[in-house]
């Protein structure tokens, strides 16, 4: 089995490598000790180490690079993810590989506005209350501006978490001010082996992170484990473009423009070369859907954004 797998490895690099051969290597099930790092072949430990170094070096410029590479569109993708989630107040979110906290902040904003609307509706119903009672209800709800919602941001990389925490403070999302319970927590952890108990979270998200996980099947199993029954798994990730014309343009942009941007803005060509290659190596939509189903999720579905440049996969633990 391992020998057969090794036959599928593609040594060296090829610019327009077809994704056909690669996915089989990525099944993560009967892998030999050799894996891919972009278009290089490495061992499992080496891969983890290399990926850690990539993100360590890009951490400070991560957000800037995201904006320049995707021309700011990544914000819209993340907004769409949160809208699809449609969280209600009281939801517990686990954002894995959520380093700089983009998803977490959007989640908090969304839940806050939903909560505000809820409170407004409640007040409209109670318009016959006395002024005293209204004021008291304000006091009661002030401590509950999120309605018991919580976010845990988990990342394997300390640098990314550091950047995230700084951003949170800068934007005013720190715990303690208006919440009785800390609503935003930062945890160091590996997606393949989460430091959480079973059946804890309502929603598990992984945005642009699952590509970097060495054993995707393990990460999916962990996701299944920590979710409550009825909980939702959401994965936002670069995926495969089926339209041939668009695909060519996309490849051109990816391999010619992005590494250059990486060098100019972040001073790091290699990391962004890795990024682009890892996107090409990642399984296409249908295959990822099957992997999610293998982990035990039901009602698994995906939604292509921008013709497949990015896809949101969703599954439920039923």
């Amino acid at each position: 089995m391992a020998a057969a797998c090794r036959l599928w490895r593609r040594p060296g690099r090829a610019l327009l490598a077809g994704p056909g051969a690669a996915p089989r290597a990525l099944r993560g099930l009967a892998q030999g000790p050799e894996l891919h790092f972009g278009f290089q072949t490495v061992t499992e430990e080496e891969r983890r180490e290399k990926i850690y170094q990539v993100f360590e070096s890009v951490a400070k410029k991560y957000d800037v690079m995201n904006d320049s590479m995707t021309l700011g569109i990544h914000r819209i993708w993340k907004d769409i993810l949160i809208h699809k989630m449609n969280p209600s107040p009281g939801t517990l979110l686990l954002d894995v590989a959520g380093g700089t906290g983009d998803i977490a902040f959007r989640f908090i904003n969304y839940v806050r506005s939903v909560r505000e609307r809820q409170l407004q509706r409640k007040l409209k119903h109670h318009q016959n209350l006395s002024w005293q009672e209204i004021f008291e209800s304000y006091q009661k709800d002030k401590c509950n501006s999120l309605g018991d919602s919580q976010v845990v941001v988990c990342d394997i990389n300390r640098e990314m978490l550091k950047v995230g925490k700084q951003k949170a403070q800068h934007l005013g999302y720190s715990e303690g001010k208006s919440c009785v319970v800390p609503c935003l927590s930062w945890v160091l952890g590996n997606a393949e082996e989460l430091p959480f108990d079973d059946d804890k979270f309502d929603v598990y998200t992984i945005a642009f992170g699952i590509r970097n996980v060495t054993r995707i099947d393990l990460a999916l199993q962990e996701a299944y484990r920590v979710l409550k029954p009825g909980g939702r798994f959401l994965c936002l990730e670069f995926s495969h473009v089926s339209n041939p014309v668009l695909s060519r343009l996309y490849d051109l942009y990816s391999f010619q423009v992005i590494p250059v941007l990486g060098e100019v803005i972040a001073g790091d060509w290699k990391s962004y070369q890795y990024l682009v290659e890892s996107i090409r190596r990642f399984p296409p939509q249908e295959e990822l859907k099957e992997m999610i189903e293998d982990a035990g999720f039901f009602k698994v579905d995906y939604e292509n954004l921008n013709f497949g440049i990015v896809a949101i996969h969703s599954g439920f633990k039923l």
Partner: protein, 315 residues
């Protein structure tokens, strides 16, 4: 599927009953009271037991084409997950969705027909609130589920009544009374949710939902006519359907704005509309025969005039 089912039903009852109609001369007022008392009890039950999944089994095996529900039920469920989380592995996703929606109905008066109500429903079943993500965020599925549940209950009621008539325990009602009672029974099921019903109606009218909501409506109307039996009215099938749909829809709208005790005004409006429909059918047949007479008269006059002309010309 719907058209075929309707056609079969029509053919079926024409063959069985023929055109001879047994008309019940009078229905004692006591019987009318009994009927509505029973109906009210059902709607109370609906209020008290939102988790009706076991009883759903009774409603479901119904004759032909009972409301193509928006969630395909798949093979007739022979089991329902009763015992909590583990049983979810053995029931299908659709069955679980059904249970969640049924549980969510309890929260509709407070939250409206929204994803929030569905989330609360999921919570009562021990699931995470994220399970509401399985449904559309505007609550369409919840409303459609509710409508098909009500239609199923109505069919059940009418079926039972028909059985009682067949067993001789009850007298057959005249058409107008039957229609009145059936529509009243169906509309009474809305009473617990009446405040949020306008919202539901507007969602049902969204282009996306119109096919499902329309088919649910027409199959309910068909059901009522099926159980009303073949009375001697001169309506043809389409007119009958259109008339009752009109009566149902207008009564529903009146009910939304009715503030009288126990919706008395609505039932009176309903009575009048049904009476109108009945007289209209008589008038229609009268008009038809009068029309024919008039036409014949005109034809005769025309012939006479032309004869007179020709004879004058000839002379």
């Amino acid at each position: 599927k719907m058209a075929a089912a309707g056609a079969l039903r029509r053919a079926g009852w024409r063959l069985c009953r023929g055109r001879a109609v047994l008309r019940c001369q009078h229905s004692p007022p006591l019987r009318a009271l009994q009927a509505s008392a029973a109906l009210r009890r059902v709607s109370d039950e609906h209020k008290k037991e939102p988790l009706t999944s076991p009883s759903q089994q009774q409603f479901d095996p119904h004759p032909d084409g009972h409301q193509p529900e928006q969630e395909p039920q798949g093979p007739r469920p022979s089991y329902t997950g009763q015992g909590g989380q583990e049983s979810e592995d053995y029931e299908s996703e659709e069955q679980l969705q059904h249970r969640i929606l049924t549980a969510a109905l309890e929260f509709v008066p407070e939250h409206g027909w929204t994803a929030e109500a569905i989330a609360e429903g999921a919570k009562t079943l021990g699931l995470s609130v994220a399970a509401a993500g399985m449904f559309h965020s505007d609550g369409s599925e919840l409303i459609l589920h509710f409508v098909s549940e009500c239609n199923a209950k109505l069919s059940e009621l009418l079926e039972q009544e028909q059985k009682r008539v067949q067993l001789g325990e009850a007298e057959k009602k005249p058409t107008d009374e039957f229609l009145r009672d059936a529509v009243e029974a169906r509309l009474r099921m809305l009473i617990p949710y009446i405040e949020k019903w306008p919202q539901a109606l507007s969602i049902l009218l969204l282009p996306r939902n119109i096919p499902s909501s329309l088919s649910l409506l027409t199959s309910m109307i068909d059901d009522i006519w099926h159980y009303a039996g073949d009375q001697s009215t001169d309506f043809n099938w389409y007119t009958r359907r259109a008339v009752l749909t009109g009566i149902y829809n207008t009564t529903e709208l009146v009910m939304l704005q009715d503030s009288s005790p126990d919706f008395e005004d609505t039932w009176r409006f309903l009575e009048n509309r049904v009476a109108d429909a009945m007289t209209m059918s008589n008038t229609a047949s009268q008009v038809q025969s009068t029309g024919e007479a008039v036409v014949q008269g005109l034809m005769g006059a025309a012939v006479t005039v032309s004869n007179a002309e020709t004879s004058r010309a000839v002379r």
